[in-house]
């Protein structure tokens, strides 16, 4: 193996950095978009044909662009937002754009599963739409959010590895530059094992919390 443990540790940090920052921004975007997609639907509390008709296709389009193409396609936008188009921070912009809409669909599904009767009961209490969202919709869907968040985090890890291809840093970058390009099988094995371990840990944490939240639901 040609690489030192320093390089591996730094790559690991970069991966975790990209994942966590994208998760925060992607998570916020996902929840806001997801909630909007639900409450502006026909017959829902803030029914709004125009907002829904605008957002729905945008989410679909972003969802259907393969990440590797999105990565390249939005380079100008990335440069505009973070000032550069290469490096770890630059990778975060496409990661957020990739994961936000994806998460928003999961959020949307979770919210649509909230019992309509509960929504009706809350409306009957004279709740404002914001109260309904914050006090009822989001908490009722929280258990399934946690599972969605786990899924999203894991696909983010996959995406960060791809971001390595354009010099984004992280474990994927190491695997490509040292392993693939220099035929260093050991490095590939080590990075892959690391990624697998991280994914396993996240899945376990997610399952644990989901179970805890749903214990009485």
């Amino acid at each position: 193996m040609e690489i030192s443990s320093d390089i591996l540790v730094r790559a690991l940090q970069e991966t975790l950095y990209m994942v966590s920052v994208s998760l925060v921004f992607g998570g916020i975007i996902g929840i806001v978009l997801g909630v909007t997609l639900v409450v502006t639907r026909k017959g829902h509390i803030l029914e709004n044909r125009y907002v829904y008709a605008l957002l729905n296709p945008i989410v679909n389009v972003l969802r259907s662009i393969p990440f590797i193409i999105l990565l390249v396609a939005i380079i100008p936008l990335t440069r505009l937002i973070v000032g550069t188009s290469i490096g770890t921070t630059a990778a975060i912009v496409p990661l957020v754009l990739h994961i936000g809409p994806y998460f928003s669909r999961l959020v949307e599904n979770s919210l649509l599963e909230v019992d309509e009767g509960v929504i009706e009961a809350t409306r009957a209490m004279g709740a404002t739409p914001v109260q309904l969202i914050i006090k009822v919709l989001l908490p009722e869907a929280f258990g399934s959010f946690v599972l969605s968040l786990t899924t999203v985090t894991i696909s983010l890890i996959g995406a960060t590895a791809m971001a390595g291809a354009i010099g984004g840093g992280g474990l994927g970058d190491v695997a490509i530059t040292y392993g693939y390009q220099r035929f260093d099988t050991a490095t590939i094995v080590v990075t892959v094992v690391l990624l697998v371990v991280i994914v396993q840990i996240i899945q376990s944490i997610g399952n644990h919390f989901e179970r805890k939240i749903r214990r009485f639901n």
């Binding site: 019992d115 009767g117 009957a124 209490m125 004279g126 006090k135 009822v136 908490p139 009485f216």
Partner: protein, 339 residues
């Protein structure tokens, strides 16, 4: 208290129009326990949802305490909705909150202080007798307990009116009675007017003072519960009345009659209100030259008034029987010969 004036509600789906309610005129007095009964799809839920403006009438108006909720601003409407409690067939409790937190929700929406919320929630819990279940989650409760949480949640804001959408339809008969008794107490203790909808006659019979019968979006009969079901006029009303009082002649009596198994003639006595308490049968036995055999009977109480039916075989000569019939007519008992 509640007034429906020529209310119509039409739902328009893709190309299709559903006339859920037509020309509804209804008055519900302060203090009533008013029941609306009808089969599934009759429009009962729609009628109920108009009262707290979950639905808006297509034409006509619904007044609650003189206010037309459809005309209010959103803010004013929310204010009025807080004065109307609602409970549901499937309870509609939040899974993510325990019993205490579920009951606290309406108060949280009004941004009341923690101290006030705590006091009121505990009062409500005590009223529905669930103090020991405060920290339980809905899924840990039985159906009856869930409905009691629903009732506590509806009462915690001190409403003037309680709407019940098939509140006992998901419960077994015993639990149904317990919940109905609780609703009766709600009405008595707090003077809360109750409007309930149901397809179960048992509910109407047990707690309502007034009733409306619905069919295909229209009210076909309305009045005091006793009056409506003791002498039903429409076919649907008769069907509902049959659920609590079987006044049809049992098939076996017809069979025995056609087989000539009776010595005498068979008569169907119908007692209504006052006549129920009188010793009519014993009077007949003592004063006329006839023998009586009671074949089948059924006496029923609605709102402390009795009414009933008896199938009686009368053995005697026709002249004497004619006298009996005359006496019965004077005593306001309706008699028909079964043949």
């Amino acid at each position: 208290m509640i007034e429906f004036n020529d209310v119509t509600k039409v739902f328009t789906n893709k190309k299709q129009q559903v006339m859920a309610l037509q020309n509804i005129d209804l008055h519900i007095q302060q203090g009533d326990i008013f029941g609306v009964i009808g089969y599934s799809g009759a429009g009962k839920s729609t009628l109920l949802r108009l009262v707290n403006a979950l639905e808006i009438p297509t034409t006509g108006e619904v007044l609650v305490q003189g206010k037309n909720l459809a005309r209010l601003s959103k803010k004013e409407l929310r204010q009025e909705q807080k004065k109307i409690g609602m409970i549901f067939q499937h309870f509609n409790l939040l899974q993510s909150r325990n019993v205490y937190e579920n009951i606290a929700l309406p108060l949280e929406l009004e941004q009341q202080s923690k101290v006030d919320i705590d006091r009121k929630v505990k009062e409500a819990l005590a009223f529905v007798n669930l103090t020991d279940k405060a920290q339980h989650f809905p899924e840990q409760l039985s159906g009856g307990q869930k409905q009691r949480v629903g009732i506590a949640r509806a009462l915690v804001t001190n409403p003037e009116l309680l709407l019940c959408d098939e509140a006992t339809s998901a419960l077994d008969p015993q639990t149904t009675i317990a919940i109905l008794q609780l609703l009766k107490r709600v009405n008595k203790v707090f003077g809360i007017t109750i409007l309930l909808i149901t397809h179960e006659m048992e509910v109407i019979k047990e707690i309502c003072n007034r009733v409306a019968v619905m069919e295909e979006g229209a009210i076909i009969e309305t009045g005091q519960v006793f009056d409506v079901f003791a002498q039903p006029k429409k076919a649907t009303t008769k069907q509902f009345a049959q659920m609590i009082v079987r006044d049809d002649v049992p098939v076996v009596i017809h069979e025995l009659l056609s087989a000539n198994r009776y010595q005498g003639r068979v008569f169907h006595f119908k007692f209504l209100g006052d006549s129920t308490g009188k010793p009519i049968i014993s009077h007949i036995a003592k004063h006329y030259e006839v023998d009586l055999t009671i074949l089948f009977g059924n006496i029923m109480e609605i709102q402390s008034t009795f009414f009933g039916h008896l199938m009686v075989e009368i053995i005697g000569d026709d002249v004497e029987i004619a006298k009996v019939l005359q006496f019965a007519e004077q005593s306001q008992v309706n008699i028909q010969e079964v043949s």
